[in-house]
Amino acid sequence: MTTNPTVTRTAGAMPLPATPDAIPGTAGAPKRRPWFLRALRSRAFGWLVFAAALVAWQRYATANPSPRYATVTDVAVQWWDQILGGPLLTATLQTLRTMLIGYGVAAVLAVVIGVLMARVRLVYVLLEPPLELLRPMPISAVIPLLILYLGIDDAMKISVVALAAFFHILLNAYSGAGSTHRTMMDTARTFGLTWRQTMAEIVIPAAAPSIFVGLRSALAASLVISVVVGMIAGNDGLGHLLMIQQQSFQVTDLIVGAVTIAMLGYALNSAFLFIERRVLHWHFGATRTHD
């Protein structure tokens, strides 16, 4: 704290509050941070540290050969070999498929139900009690029951993923659709919009920023659950593959699997942000100008 660069050193007897703008009476332009502080705050610095950690790992694993470690290069070579074909590719595609179907089903159902609950009193009255009871239940507590009823194949896995994603989206769709500004609803009424037109042209677009918040947290949840459900069902997907490799001490393959999941998550999130920026460009523009 003693070297905080934003504190004005030229201040006189009175300690001035440190503000990001130039303080009148002090010299010239707004203060620029010293180069090393700017470097510490850049994103490249984070990636550099990450790369350094990889180098350290590589050196340690090379210097201490052991079946418990794998070198970075081994992992990279293995990953490249396996992602082009074989069990890793199959498992990744299976997990991705389960996840996307479950997520898609949840997105459609949750947006429809959330908007209806916010806008139709009877739907709210009927669905609120069961949903509020279901919501706090950990998804892991439901899986055994779903296995009992649906077996261990797609129907069960997709249902589990959908259930995990559902509430994230539902709550945000509900609150978004319930908080349409009164003037906007009055506008819809005076322009003579029917109920369906009001939902499609006013309520849902106005709720879209909120719905996207839910869709994004649901995306992370459904990736996690789609891997876990493969471990529990034990028949396919990345989760299942990891369990087999763990039992046979294939450390390199285990790391390859984990890396694959991480990259899948990163790719999905990037794709999501890409779509969000396009769909909600008006929202980001509007909130930026009101800062």
């Binding site: 009055d186 506008t187 042209e201 008006w282 929202h283």
Partner: protein, 280 residues
């Protein structure tokens, strides 16, 4: 209560004489807000006839129920007693012939649509679908309010005055017979406000509308309207109904400096400030 002229199918001929067919009638209307504990009467015993093509301003002290009255007339709020008729038909919800321009333009324009998109919304949800291609119509209504250059911009990229002009263009694109405006120009700076007033007068003259304009600004009421209705300060109906009828076209400088303008301004300010003591 005096009943109005026989409700005929109202035409939209432009007329400021007041002898045109009655378009909008309020007959002994009252509004009481009920809460669990008590009842608050915002408005009672209000009767008013507005002819097709008129430009009427509603003024009064704050709390006189002028915004409540506008919400009643525009069908956004049900009356507790009395009846409101548009073109002879009692209303039950917003009348098809009417559109509103609200004070809070930022919450009325659709932020996910461009200015042109908002006007298209008006065309799609029109009272009388206009003839011609939508692109030409969008250009026409944007031109009418002087926003031709801003068609592809988003509302939040525009100043408040420009946003309100976009809202007016959207309302006009629906080709209404009646335009309700609730303190529509109160949220913008003085210069934009003068511009908006002239844009509205121009559009009113072009489109042959009936305008009911609520404002707390007496100058604005006299400048815009042919008839200024002063509401009773305690919500007891109409205190005074003044036909100002200044010559048209009006200009920000010439009209506001004319002796008639100053006379009506003084008369109305007196009515609003002194309440019923000086009522007619």
């Amino acid at each position: 209560m005096a009943t109005s002229a026989a409700p005929t199918a109202a035409g939209t001929e432009h007329s400021a004489t007041g002898s045109a067919a009655t378009l909008l009638t309020a007959d002994d209307v009252a509004k009481t807000y009920r809460t669990r504990r008590r009842e608050v009467t915002a408005l009672r015993g209000l009767s008013l006839d507005i002819g097709a093509g008129e430009f009427v301003a509603l003024v009064g002290r704050s709390g006189c129920g002028k915004s409540t009255l506008l919400r009643l007339l525009s069908g956004l709020l049900p009356a507790t007693a009395g009846q409101i008729r548009v073109a002879g038909q009692p209303i039950d919800g917003p009348p098809r012939q009417a559109r509103c321009v609200f004070q809070d333009y930022a919450q009325s324009l659709l932020p996910w649509k461009t200015v042109a998109g908002n006007v298209r919304f008006g065309l799609r949800h029109a009272y009388e679908p206009a003839e011609g291609g939508h692109d030409e119509l969008v250009a026409h209504y944007l031109g009418l309010v002087g926003l031709g250059h801003a068609a592809d911009r988003y509302p939040w990229e525009l100043s408040g005055g420009m946003q309100q002009r976009a809202a007016i263009a959207r309302a006009l694109a629906a080709r209404p017979q009646l335009l309700f405006m609730d303190e529509a120009f109160s949220g913008v700076d003085a210069l934009s406000r003068a511009k908006l007033q002239d844009v509205l007068l121009h559009a009113w003259a072009e489109e042959g509308l009936t305008v009911v304009f609520v404002t707390h600004d007496i100058d604005e009421a006299v400048y815009l309207a042919d008839r200024v209705v002063v509401l009773h300060p305690e919500g007891r109906g109409v205190l005074a109904d003044v036909r100002t009828g200044l010559p048209r076209p009006r200009g920000q400088l010439t009209t506001r400096e004319s002796p008639e303008f100053l006379h009506h301004r003084r008369e109305l300010l007196h009515l609003v400030l002194d309440g019923e003591d000086s009522g007619e």
